[in-house]
């Protein structure tokens, strides 16, 4: 045991210098990793904007693909794909939103902790399933023997969206103060009226945020459209979502990129720009809503 020399000033020893160097090295390493991820996002988005911008025009957004498909075919656009994706996602949302909301209400308001635990597990497993497996399930159940239809994609997207909506909704239901429920009960109001009139409106912000994020995710899902709505006539516009496969944006991007050729790759970038624009806007809206809600929660 070395005695402490009280006459020496407190200067760092070699050991401390080494420890500080390690500290600095690891901190810079972590900062660099974060910078790399942001740089990657900027690189990807910049590539899309740079290459897609020249393809975007009014006719690209409104016209359909040229009938003579091929490497040399020029012109045309993704009009029917925009309509197809919008219809598929709209129907999917109409299915997933009520289901997600009902499940979230059951989880937070009625289920015992044990039951809620196993339903949460089921939702997490459903969320963890790859979209190709969900697509294959519906392909086996509905398409084999019958043919494709746009609405089958909506079913797949609804299964993908539901866990996300249920999750965000149940989180915001938990944030509704218990006092509100108690006060409503104390006034003699029944449980279902309290839930519908007090609890759900209080959590509406979370429901909307979750739904917007789910829509942003569903719109770009490609595995389901590849199996369930890939044989559409790409040069005509169809609204028959229940009886026909519909052309859609993810399929266009995939198809153009696999076909290759300068004109097709240019179309793929144009379609990617349209897609990423909606994804970014929806994410931005969801975040703005969320932060506004957080601020209100803080000030309460």
């Amino acid at each position: 045991m070395a005695a402490i020399d009280h006459t020496r000033p407190l200067t760092p020893t070699g050991n401390l210098r080494r420890r500080r160097a390690t500290d600095r090295f690891m901190r810079y390493g972590c900062t660099l990793a974060a910078a790399m991820a942001v740089a990657l996002l900027i690189w990807v988005v910049f590539s899309i904007v740079q290459r897609g911008a020249s393809a975007i025009s009014w006719s690209f957004l409104t016209q359909n693909a040229p009938t003579t498909f091929g490497v040399s075919a020029v012109g045309g656009g993704i009009g029917n794909a925009i309509i197809g994706t919008a219809m598929m996602v709209a129907v999917a949302t109409a299915i997933a939103l009520p289901f997600g909301l009902l499940i979230a209400v059951f989880l937070t308001e009625f289920a015992s902790p044990r039951v809620a635990g196993s339903i949460r597990l089921a939702l997490d497993l459903l969320y963890g399933l790859p979209s190709i497996v969900i697509a294959l399930f519906l392909y086996g159940l509905l398409v084999v023997g019958n043919g494709q239809a746009g609405v089958y994609v909506s079913f797949a997207l609804a299964i993908i969206m539901m866990p996300l909506i249920a999750r965000t909704t149940s989180e915001s239901l938990l944030l509704v103060p218990k006092e509100l429920r108690d006060a409503s009960h104390a006034l003699g109001i029944s449980r279902w009226r309290t839930t519908i009139g007090i609890v759900i409106p209080g959590a509406l912000g979370g429901v909307i945020t979750g739904t917007i994020l789910a829509v942003a995710r569903a719109g770009g899902e490609t595995a389901p459209v590849l199996l369930l709505s890939s044989l559409a006539n790409t040069s005509t516009t169809s609204f028959s979502i229940f009886s026909q496969p519909l052309n859609n944006i993810p399929y266009d991007i995939f198809n153009f990129s696999e076909e290759g050729g300068a004109a097709n790759i240019a179309r793929a970038w144009g379609a990617a720009l349209v897609m990423i624009f909606f994804v970014l806007v929806l994410n931005l809206v969801a975040r703005t809503l969320q932060s506004r809600r957080n601020r209100r929660m803080m000030s309460r």
């Binding site: 420890r19 500080r20 390690t22 972590c30 900062t31 990793a33 974060a34 790399m36 991820a37 996002l41 690189w43 990807v44 590539s47 009520p98 289901f99 009902l102 499940i103 209400v105 059951f106 308001e109 009625f110 289920a111 949460r120 597990l121 089921a122 939702l123 997490d124 459903l126 969320y127 963890g128 399933l129 790859p130 190709i132 497996v133 969900i134 294959l136 086996g140 299964i159 249920a166 999750r167 965000t168 449980r191 279902w192 519908i196 979750g210 995710r217 770009g220 595995a223 590849l226 890939s230 993810p250 995939f254 990129s257 793929a268 897609m275 994804v279 970014l280 969320q290 932060s291 957080n294």
Partner: protein, 315 residues
């Protein structure tokens, strides 16, 4: 009276919806196994070890099981350390103000649809791989058989690994960040007060106590890589082989399902595609249940489930 009816109706309705969510999982498993049954009874377990897939009468999954294993492990080796580093940076090493800007940007990377990442892979990444990265790696590490002669197109297993790493990265980063934010400040402050440097605090207190959570975050990242179909089709080259050289072309379970499910050349092909689906389903269920088991066993905070990572959760 009507109130009692309303109470019952609401409970019944919400419980019914929840039951349907559970039933859907059962239905998915049943349908995929059922549609695969002709192939399962005809090809048996030999399917797993057989290498040929000719699209008409000979089917084997060995090349794709190899492809899925190699790409997801490779993606995890890259995205795991980087994701954890980003999680540490966002939760402990920077100001809240900076984290509030950088964090959402990292999460936005997860929102880019995979078909667009794949397109970017074909047009932007492939040429760079072919002209620069693969020759450089081959020159330096060529004595390891994994880094053999560079590919001619830039497409291949290694490019798929990088693309999958980009997809797993934001998931691992977001989950580990939320995890590290739950470490009690008493523990962190205690370590700093004892004279630990910031990194020693991170290593001793944060990484030490959060090891199971980090494992579960990495498993969920790998789960994303195992199941990705579209972007892999676009960049891996889709050739049925088991090359040691990672710059060569390959195929994965999910990518082959996406590319050939609608071929319908023979009934056996369709059933074999579903057989691939059974293998993928089993892998994903094991992986996801493992992640959930870790979360439950160690009573980790609820940030480690997949859905929470994507949800906006800066409450």
């Amino acid at each position: 009276m009507s109130d009692r009816l309303g109470d019952r109706a609401l409970v019944g309705l919400t419980a019914g919806a929840s039951v349907i969510a559970v039933v859907i999982i059962g239905l998915i498993i049943y349908q995929v196994v059922d549609s695969a049954s002709p192939a399962i009874s005809k090809l048996g377990l030999g399917f797993l070890g057989h290498q040929t897939w000719n699209g008409t009468d000979v089917f084997g999954a060995a090349t794709m099981i190899y492809g899925t294993a190699v790409t997801s492990v490779g993606a995890l080796l890259i995205a795991g350390p980087l994701g954890i580093a980003i999680g540490l940076y966002l939760s402990l090493l920077t100001s809240g103000r900076t984290a509030a800007i950088i964090g959402p940007l990292v999460e936005l990377l997860a929102a880019v649809p995979s078909v667009i990442i794949g397109l970017w892979g074909i047009v932007v990444l492939d040429p760079i791989m072919r002209s620069t990265i693969e020759p450089a790696l081959h020159n330096v590490l060529g004595w390891i058989p994994l880094f053999g002669s560079p590919s001619l197109s830039g497409a291949g297993i290694f490019t798929a690994i990088l693309i999958l790493a980009i997809m797993a990265l934001p998931i691992i980063a977001a989950i580990t960040r939320d995890l590290f934010l739950t470490v009690p400040s008493e523990l962190k402050d205690g370590a700093l007060a004892l004279g630990a440097t910031r990194w020693e605090m991170v290593r001793g207190v944060v990484l030490g106590s959060m090891r199971p959570g980090i494992a579960s975050a990495c498993i969920l990242g790998a789960s994303r890589a195992i199941g990705e179909a579209i972007a892999v089709v676009q960049v891996i080259g889709m050739v049925y082989q088991i090359p040691l050289n990672q710059f060569a072309n390959g195929a994965t379970l999910a990518s082959n399902m996406a590319l050939h499910a609608t071929d319908n050349s023979t009934p056996l092909e369709t059933a074999s595609i579903f057989y691939l689906g059974v293998i993928l389903l089993v892998m994903e269920l094991i992986v996801n249940l493992a992640a959930q088991a870790i979360v439950r066993y160690y009573r980790l905070p609820d940030v480690t489930s997949g859905a929470a990572a994507v949800a906006v959760d800066e409450l």
